[in-house]
């Protein structure tokens, strides 16, 4: 009789291509991507980090209601996004703006959502950082953790069925992102299991950044991270160094290829990183972790500086280019910031529209009720920021 003892098993290794000094560990693994493309990855990560600093500050000044930065995790987002085709469908949690930026979400798109102005696709209904885009095949983010994980399985099944019906369509997968905390939800279990039994071409990408708000992974799970679970569901799984953009890209490329094999199947990637930032603008993380630990991480390793070291080693980047790019990006962000801040808000009737495909009689009655109240107490309500003012309520 022999019990399987998880702690006696070797931990699943972490795949790495480039070390923290930006040196390729195994020369056989050299990135075979045009250098302009790699520079584009770098600029995309830089853009996200610059936007993060500005918008975090904007929240502190009360100009937007909420913000979440993705410092330390830009490499996971951009590296994996670079391995997808534009037709691949993406579900994200909320700390993946790099995926949006890489796929073509513009600064205007980001700012419109953050300021909830009339160009915000959700019409001012979602809190900041809940991006979405139909053009980019990215489903709109919802705050509820892990609910998107079974959605991704179902969407992957739909994508697969569409492909069977119309073989001229490009072969597509679904990519789904979540944190290691979200992986404790029942939806994670439900999703990986059904994705596996229904043979869904979906790549699950877990960002294991060490913390779920204040909860360290020691209190999140006692197995070998998230990766060890994939095997239990019969899912091919890999753990990668999330600060190594080459490793993330390479693993996602291979995962994409495998996900389309054998009539479709799910793949799990656990990308290890460290949440350098506070959880959100509503969190002061020094209440539960030492500042020195964060500083060490920032200094020791970071996906942006790691790629920068590699680029400099290749003669593709230098201090001057860095300064110019940073100042250019900063200007661009600030330009879209003030443009977005000064736009009108969506029409007030958006409070009711899109609840059902058509307005219900009940909604129409309530719209009239609100209009009546506002008309009879005009000094109590300021509708000047809303597109169309009271006229949208009719």
């Amino acid at each position: 009789m022999s019990f399987e003892r998880p702690h006696e098993r070797p931990a699943i290794p972490t795949y790495r291509i480039m070390d923290s000094e930006g040196v390729i560990v195994d020369p056989a693994n050299k990135p075979d991507v045009p250098s302009e493309e790699i520079v584009r990855w770098y600029k995309t990560m830089l853009q996200v980090s610059i936007m993060d600093v500005i918008m975090f500050e904007a929240q502190r000044q009360g100009r937007i209601s909420f913000y979440m930065v993705s410092a330390g995790e830009e490499g996971i987002a951009v590296g994996s996004a670079s391995a997808l085709i534009p037709e691949d469908v993406v579900f994200s949690q909320y700390r993946e703006p790099g995926v949006f930026a890489y796929r073509g979400f513009t600064l205007k798109d980001f700012m419109s959502q953050l300021f909830a102005n009339k160009y915000d696709t959700s019409k001012g209904r979602n809190p900041p950082v809940h991006y979405g885009s139909s053009r980019l095949n990215m489903h709109t983010i919802s705050s509820t953790l892990a609910t998107q994980i079974p959605h991704a399985a179902g969407a992957a099944y739909a994508v697969k069925m569409r492909g069977l019906q119309d073989p001229t369509l490009p072969k597509r997968v679904v990519a789904c992102y979540f944190g290691e905390g979200a992986a404790s939800e029942g939806d994670f279990h439900a999703a990986l299991n059904i994705a596996s039994t229904r043979h869904c071409p979906v790549i699950y990408i877990c960002r294991n950044n060490g913390f779920a708000i204040s909860t360290p992974t020691l209190e999140q799970y006692s197995g070998d991270g998230i990766a060890s679970r994939g095997v239990g569901y019969g899912i091919d799984t890999i753990r990668v160094d999330g600060n190594d953009i080459f490793a993330v890209r390479q693993a996602t490329l291979k995962a994409r290829e495998m996900a389309l094999e054998d009539g479709g199947k799910p793949i799990l990637i656990e990308a290890m990183s460290y949440r350098v930032s506070h959880h959100s603008t509503s969190d002061d993380s020094f209440a539960y972790r030492a500042k020195v630990e964060v500083e060490q991480w920032k200094r020791r390793d970071n996906p942006i500086t790691r790629l920068r070291k590699w680029l400099e080693g290749q003669g593709l980047w230098n201090d001057q280019m860095e300064q110019e790019e940073r100042s250019k990006l900063r200007k661009e962000v600030l330009k879209e910031f003030s443009a977005a801040e000064n736009e009108k808000q969506p029409p007030l009737v958006s409070m009711w529209t899109d609840m059902y495909e058509e307005l219900t009689d009940e909604a129409k009655t309530q719209i009239k009720e609100l209009r009546d109240i506002i008309e009879r107490y005009p000094d109590e309500y300021d509708l000047s920021a809303f597109e169309g003012g009271i006229e949208s309520l009719k």
């Binding site: 709109t140 079974p150 739909a158 059904i194």
Partner: protein, 288 residues
């Protein structure tokens, strides 16, 4: 029916035993433009999927906004209601829970031909997520002619099953049969009394106008449903009537419902509305 044999295992298939997985999976497929018809084995077991239904299916179109995505293609079928021996977990009627959620349509048919028309409408026409609750006591007991060809019955609007001038009885699903029997007895026992019977069929969004119009005529209402009384559908109907027909009311709105307790095995017969209780409520409102 052998749907899997006819349409293939890619379109009709088993899932792992996980309600949140079933509904989450179906929402994802719907959000990519498919028309999934998910089944929850008993309405009593729909709660593990409550988060997916309330926070995801119901809000998908709203939070996506102008991207145009929604879970509108989704239909979730669930057998509901008492069968006499279902006890706590094979008897529930959670329609009021789902009717409190903007974005969901809640529908309950009363008969085979209505079930077919409403279900086809839920799948083919309604571009909103639909909770389709099927009174399982009728699965084998209700027999009637059902056209073989495809047809739909609109989810919008209530249906007046029988016209009358003295009392309006509002119900849906299986208790409509109980109501019909009680009404026949009342009309036999009280000469000149005629009762109007309304099948809501869509529990949310629901047809307030048809109910109010009827009450404007009769001035008296009895609402009948199996689910418990507190904050049940009857509460919303009663409140709507006091708001919209106050000056015409000649008696308080009566509610004949499940008692505000669980469905214990032995007590089924005494819990759900029966002909006696409906008869008595109509009598009380007439006598008021």
């Amino acid at each position: 029916m052998k749907l899997a044999d006819e349409f293939g295992s890619e379109r009709v298939f088993n899932t792992p035993l996980s309600e949140q997985g079933i509904v989450g999976f179906a929402i994802g497929a719907a959000a990519e433009g498919m028309k999934p018809v998910a089944e929850i084995q008993f309405a009593d077991y729909s709660y593990p999927a409550f988060d997916q239904l309330v926070n995801e299916a119901a809000k998908y179109r709203y939070r996506e906004g102008s991207t145009g995505r929604s879970a509108g293609g989704l239909v979730v079928r669930m057998p509901c209601g008492g069968v006499g021996h279902g006890a706590m977990y094979h008897s529930q009627s959670p329609e009021a829970l789902y009717s409190h959620i903007p974005g969901l349509r809640v529908v309950m048919p009363r008969s085979p031909s209505q079930a077919k028309g409403l279900l086809l409408s839920a799948i083919l026409d309604a571009n909103d997520p639909v909770i389709f609750m099927e009174p399982k006591i009728l699965y084998r007991s209700a027999v009637e002619h059902v056209p073989a060809q495809s047809y739909t019955i609109s989810l919008d609007g209530a249906e007046i099953l029988k016209t009358g001038d003295s009392v309006t009885v509002v119900s849906y699903g299986h208790p409509l049969y109980t109501c019909s029997q009680a009404i026949a007895a009342i009309e036999r026992d009280f000469k000149g009394v005629t009762i109007e019977l309304i099948d809501l069929k869509s529990i949310y969004p629901w047809d307030r106008n048809t109910v109010l119009k009827s009450v404007q005529k009769t001035g008296r209402t009895v609402v009948v449903h199996e689910a418990m009384r507190n904050l049940g559908v009857g509460a919303e109907v009663a409140a709507t009537i006091q708001d919209g027909a106050f000056l015409r009311l000649e008696a308080p709105v009566q509610r004949v419902t499940g008692w505000s307790t669980h469905v214990g095995l032995l007590y089924d017969k005494y819990n759900h509305p029966d002909v006696v209780r409906v008869y008595d409520a109509i009598k009380k409102t007439l006598d008021y």
